[in-house]
């Protein structure tokens, strides 16, 4: 067949993977990002395989079901199931199971290539019905009722409120996360947006409080995990892959950490610290990035630390008020509670 050389070439291309981190996912992202045959993508619309890591209690499982159905066909799912977890969330029912992230990446490559060869796709988890029913509702079966203050298409219409320019404009209510790139593990944000500006935000912790789990690892690796996510959030995918490779590689016997030092230099050269100074949060996110880079430079030590218990998220939402959503996500990422708890313990 004439297309077979092309088919062979396409078959060898990296498999697009969307990584959904549940509770206790640990360093899963960097391990996946460091596999050359996988390409981590930022949206499920670009992915072939969904790799879910950790526990997905209650609302996290519901969010995962919505995410699962947004992968285009053909699709597959792989679950790194933590020891002791028996019940699978609906989205992962019948998914390929893996013990470790390394097994999961091998499995993701295999199923991704099998899909290219025509293997069957996973069906939707959620019913094919509008999430907010509207069809046939209303006095004339026109679908919903009213306009301002009504529920015209199943969702309440945005009501007006004062905005930063002294105008009275619509307030759009959205729930963001928990699987956005850069969003701290198991966190969603209930935000009220006017245009792209966050007017109100409350951060909701979806953790069921059974401890963050995960195996003990080193502070250096945690910092590199954070840096990998930082680079992905900034769209610097090549640097993210490099940070992931440094994170999973064993430290040199003489603690010289030449790769780590070169990585830090490359991140500094990318101008990310300078860019983040203008976010509108007073340069706090830039200072935090600078601090992490400084600590990576000064210490190549790789002593293990116990996984820290995540502190209460408290007033995290206050830090993003008045920012545009993209900047707010950067600020939320820079204030990752687990990462800060680890630094505080050290």
């Amino acid at each position: 067949m004439a297309v077979s050389p092309w088919r062979r070439l396409a078959r060898g291309a990296p498999v697009e993977v969307f990584a959904a981190a549940g509770m206790g996912a640990g360093l899963a992202h960097v391990e996946l990002a460091s596999v050359p045959d996988l390409r981590l993508v930022a949206s499920p619309r670009h992915a072939t395989v969904l790799v879910a890591v950790g526990r997905f209690p209650g609302p996290l499982g519901a969010a995962l079901a919505r995410l699962h159905d947004q992968l285009p066909h053909p699709r597959a799912a792989v679950w790194v199931r933590p020891a002791g977890v028996v019940e699978a969330p609906a989205a992962l029912d019948g998914a390929d199971l893996a013990q470790t992230v390394a097994h999961a990446s091998a499995s993701a490559v295999a199923v991704g290539r099998a899909l290219r060869d025509g293997a069957p796709s996973r069906p939707d988890v959620l019913p094919d019905a509008p999430p907010h029913p509207f069809e046939g509702l209303g006095d004339h079966r026109q679908g919903g009722e009213g306009m301002m203050g009504g529920v015209p298409w199943g969702r309440p219409m945005a009501m007006t409120g004062p905005d930063r320019d002294g105008l009275s404009l619509d307030r759009s209510e959205v729930r963001m996360g928990p699987f956005l790139v850069g969003m701290p593990e198991g966190v969603t944000v209930d935000a009220v947006l006017q245009g792209g500006v966050v007017q109100e935000a409350s951060v909701v912790d979806l953790d069921d409080g059974e401890g963050s789990g995960g195996s003990p690892t080193s502070l250096r690796r945690h910092r590199l995990r954070w840096l990998t996510e930082t680079c992905r959030l900034a769209g610097l995918d090549a640097l993210a892959a490099r940070a992931a490779t440094v994170a999973v590689a064993p430290v040199d016997a003489d603690h010289s950490d030449r790769d780590g030092a070169a990585l830090v230099r490359a991140v500094r050269r990318s101008g990310l610290v300078t860019t983040w100074r203008d976010l509108g949060d007073g340069g706090a996110a830039a200072a935090r990035l600078d601090e992490v880079l400084g600590r990576l430079e000064s210490s190549a030590a790789d002593e293990p630390v116990a996984p820290a218990r995540r502190p209460s998220l408290g007033e995290l939402g206050h830090h993003v008020l008045g920012l545009t959503w993209s900047d707010a996500l950067v600020v939320l990422h820079s204030l990752d509670p687990s990462a800060i708890a680890l630094e505080a313990d050290a």
């Binding site: 019913p127 969702r155 759009s172 959205v174 729930r175 963001m176 969603t188 245009g195």
Partner: protein, 118 residues
Amino acid sequence: MAVYESFAAAVVVLAAVVTLVGIAHWGLAQGAGSTWPQRAPYLGGGTQESHAWSRYHARWFPMALVFIAFEMEMMFMYPWAVVFAAEGGKAMVEMGMFLGLLSVGLVYAWREGAFRWQ
């Protein structure tokens, strides 16, 4: 001549066929395998709680207004320059009226704070 005409007709027909096939293919692709959960916006697993139709402040609006006021003014001045050579003072008065109207727009933009950089 007839050769060129039939060639042009063939190109037009071909373009129409390609466009129609493209639109049909796009339409079929839209319908096929597209379910409600797949059509939902991607919010990282989150949901849209209020209706997505929301009015926001187009902050570039005053700047666009100023641009239009000055741009149209300049555009009309080119043909006016030709008429001015023939008509003289009368054309000058007419242009004065035109500029007067435009400056009302300018004053409005000033009041809206279009010249205040923020």
